[in-house]
């Protein structure tokens, strides 16, 4: 339905109060959801503690982050999330490509789509907690390796270590990477790939010069959708990182428990800034590819 009624032939009856509902809800959403999210920037520049708010502007919170080593937690979290995101991209792209362009069986498609969707609705704890006994000192991996005679004593770094956290993050965030890439690949017209082949391009050249550029929005979206929530992960780090690998989620909880709101706000604001830069990159790249404004159009197809 065209709001401007450009063809002017018909009066298009609108469903009851549709625009009114959208308008009201958007206002409520901005005030109740986006305002609190923006407010955190303000809180990071004032003194917020259990006694209340002191509205004199100060950079105290940021100074504390950089002086007390809290910056290390942020840096470690970013490093781990970036590494895992890179590995996920490596695993996900070939898989998504096969899923979008190689797989023909409808039954398998439905099975794999379901398998890739269901994890969004499963409890993270349920999916992570089992790694503790499996990777533990007496776990099946350690005892298996010892029985094979590959190691003499249990590997202590299998659990409560950075490698363990890296490994544990792979499974829960895989669908976040596969879906956007898959969606961008399935929108590529098969004719384009055929044409590239017809004019003599090798599969590698087609991949490099046709598929990759067209899939770029999906790849970037995949990176953001895995990297961003990973920054805030508080299950994997707590359950299989233990006390050894403190990440942002745990650090935040410590700060809030200690009622140190200003520093929590400052860390939150820093992360928001990083995310904003990432998003801006995405929008700019999308605009260059020229598909920016057609989110809704894409969904309608």
């Amino acid at each position: 339905m065209n709001r401007g009624n450009s063809n002017g032939r018909y009066f298009l009856p609108r469903p009851p109060s549709g625009d009114w509902a959208v308008f009201t809800f958007s206002i409520v959403w901005c005030l109740g959801v986006l305002l609190p999210l923006a407010g955190v920037v303000l809180f990071s520049f004032i003194r917020a503690s259990a006694e209340g708010l002191d509205f004199r502007l100060t950079l105290e919170a940021y100074r504390e982050i950089f002086l007390t080593g809290r910056w290390e937690v942020t840096a470690r979290t970013i490093r781990i999330a970036a590494t895992v995101t890179a590995v996920l991209l490596l695993i996900s792209f070939p898989f998504a490509l096969w899923l979008a362009k190689g797989l023909r069986s409808t039954a398998w498609k439905i099975v794999i789509w379901t398998l890739l969707t269901a994890p969004f609705f499963l409890s993270d704890t349920a999916r992570v907690v089992i790694w503790r006994p499996v990777l533990g000192l007496m776990g099946p991996i350690n005892s298996g390796l010892m029985e094979l005679g590959l190691i003499e004593r249990p590997l202590t770094w299998l659990l409560f270590s950075e490698p363990a956290v890296h490994f544990g993050l792979l499974g829960p965030f895989l669908p976040n990477m596969v879906w956007p890439i898959f969606l961008s690949l399935i929108l590529i017209d098969d004719d384009l790939i055929e044409a590239s082949k017809d004019i003599g391009a090798t599969p590698w050249q087609t991949l490099r010069h046709v598929i990759l550029p067209l899939a770029m929005p999906g790849i970037l979206a995949g990176i953001i959708f895995s990297f961003v929530p990973m920054l805030g992960d508080d299950v994997v780090a707590k359950v299989i990182g233990g006390q050894q690998v403190l990440m942002l989620g745990g650090a935040m909880l410590d700060l809030i428990t200690a009622l140190n709101y200003s520093v929590a706000a400052a860390m939150s604001a820093l992360i928001l800034a990083i995310i904003a830069v990432l998003q801006l990159t995405l929008v700019l790249v999308l605009r260059r590819v020229g598909k920016g404004a057609s989110l809704v159009e894409g969904l309608r197809k």
Binding site: R3, P16, V22, F121, V129, I130, D234
Partner: protein, 280 residues
Amino acid sequence: MSLALSGTALTGAVRREELMLRVGKTVAITFGCLGVVLMYGPVAWLALMSISERPLTGKPGPFTLSWYEKLFADLRWLDPLLTSLGIAAIVSILCMITATAVGRTLPHIGRTGAWLLLLFLLVLFIPGVMLGVDFVMFYRLFLGIRTGLWSLILAHFVWAFPFALLGVIVVAGRFDTRLLESAADLGAGAWRRFRDIEMPLLFPGILSAGFFGFLLSLNELPRSIYLRGGATTLPLFQWAEAASHTTMVPLIYGLSTLITIASLALTVIALRQLFKGDAA
């Protein structure tokens, strides 16, 4: 002679390309299998452990249902479960109403709709922990409202709404608005058009919005940690017990297995609803 030579060169190139494609396909399928194992291996192993005699060793067998017996003898998880189910039901209803009210119009108002959709999807880019912290500071510290059930419902709703909205939009985008014109021509009033034409056709989307809201709320953890007030939801209970070293841990395996199976079943039902029309 030269023709024959270039012929062999050509078949050689074709063969090399076929080989590349085959290698690529093998790599893709291997990575896919690896991915599925990474996603579902832990869940499957968890289920296996929940029926093993010594689950904390991580090794299966000998098999027993005794942990489930103990789980149903020690009902400390029941209150958190009921709290979670209650919150999930409320969030689910809220999602159905709001996602329908917004989603039915959004695909039909052009660029404005696209920008508004972006506005609603924005929260998906905020890590859950940040959202929890930000909400606590705004509502409890700044506005001075005590956190509790309401803040859990709010946080879960904010988390679930984008998914619910997408569910409705997928269906509403395919909705032929000319149907409403015809109904109006035939003299149907605004509410009649909505109730008898639009709602039945949007129903798969509305229903999936409800399912998404329910499931996302039921398993939500990062935001709940900060906004729980005095309440304990099931994921909070599971999380606290799983990270501890108490005797509850083997029971958590059984509980998590049951919740996972129920969530999987509901997800499959929701997806079937949503894509009933275009399975082929």
